[in-house]
Symmetry: C2
Subunit: 198 residues, 2 copies
């Protein structure tokens, strides 16, 4: 068999196959949530075999991060935060996080993801996806006590900071130098990570 | 002249005149922002005299709060926070704030406002409206130093808390008892209100 236009849509490595898988994954994660989405369902929706989804995208976590369609893998950004341990993790987290958001090449894509996570139709992507796949494991890797409480507290401050600084462009936050943002928010986040909590 | 169906739309006290003013105000605040909206422009858009707008709604601040269409005036809710002074203001603020958001009769309207403030087309309502009309004056009334810095910090945590607890329903925040939320977030907000800041 030779390749040709008629077969293009079914060729495993073809860009449109990858795109079809990503489209199906985005749609299912948004409507069914992370836990309600299976690789099998994504494969069926994309009209391919489940093994092909694993072959191109790895685990379900990897597929979820790929479906976010941001030019960075947040788990890689967070690796140095984890490597340093819980002590001082808030400051390292803020530095890593701001270096990505303050990059003008990356910010537009992040803004799209942030808006998606707040729209009623797709907001499950955050609570039932981004939180367990990206933020939750950070708390476990840092070996925190009560990570299931602490990481949502961290998220509640970081999400508000993103909204005011990057989405709503509220001053003086929107123009505040990185070092000042880090120094302002690090005590809050460090208390949420390792401080005494009720 | 006698009243009749043909005159109903122009009668000053008629419900549809009030509604027309509120519609015009909502549309203008959303698209022009608070500072870009004048009583004169609202009156013109509603087809009434400016004096009538003042007569029914008071000041521009009052009109803005009325246009939010929530069953409480946030400025009244915040009055006891101000009355107690800056010491302990974070705890009083959280108690006042949660009493409103945790009221099932009020929450749906607040959710609508919160969503409006995050939509791209209407997000100026927050940065150029809610913040200067409702949140900013709180910092001035509490006689804080640098209120123009401190109140956006407070807002950045409160907005994130609203999002995770009430909009995205992230656990354990969504089910957390009021007292625990207050005890968890009061130290953060009190530092933003009165603590040392970089």
């Amino acid at each position: 068999m030779t390749s040709g236009p008629a077969k293009r849509g079914r060729r495993p490595g073809a860009p449109d196959t990858r795109a079809a898988i990503l489209d199906a994954a985005r749609s299912l994660f948004a409507t069914q949530g992370y836990s309600g989405t299976t690789i099998r369902a994504v494969a069926a929706a994309a009209g391919v075999d489940g093994a092909l989804v694993h072959h191109y995208f790895g685990t379900k976590d990897d597929l979820f991060v790929a479906a976010l369609d941001i030019p960075v893998d947040p788990r890689q950004i967070l690796a140095p935060v984890v490597a340093g341990g819980a002590d001082g993790a808030a400051e390292r987290f803020l530095l890593a996080f701001l270096s990505v958001w303050d990059d003008p090449d990356v910010r537009p894509a992040l803004l799209t993801v942030a808006r998606t996570m707040m729209e009623p139709a797709t907001q499950r992507v955050f609570a039932d996806g981004f939180l367990p796949v990206v933020i939750g494991p950070l708390g476990v890797a840092l070996d925190l006590d009560r990570p299931e409480l602490r990481m949502p507290l961290v998220a509640s401050q970081v999400v508000g900071l993103i909204l005011l600084r990057y989405v709503l462009l509220v001053e003086p936050l929107a123009s505040m130098p990185t070092e000042q943002v880090v120094a302002t928010y690090a005590p809050t986040l460090q208390r949420y990570l390792t401080g005494p909590l009720p």
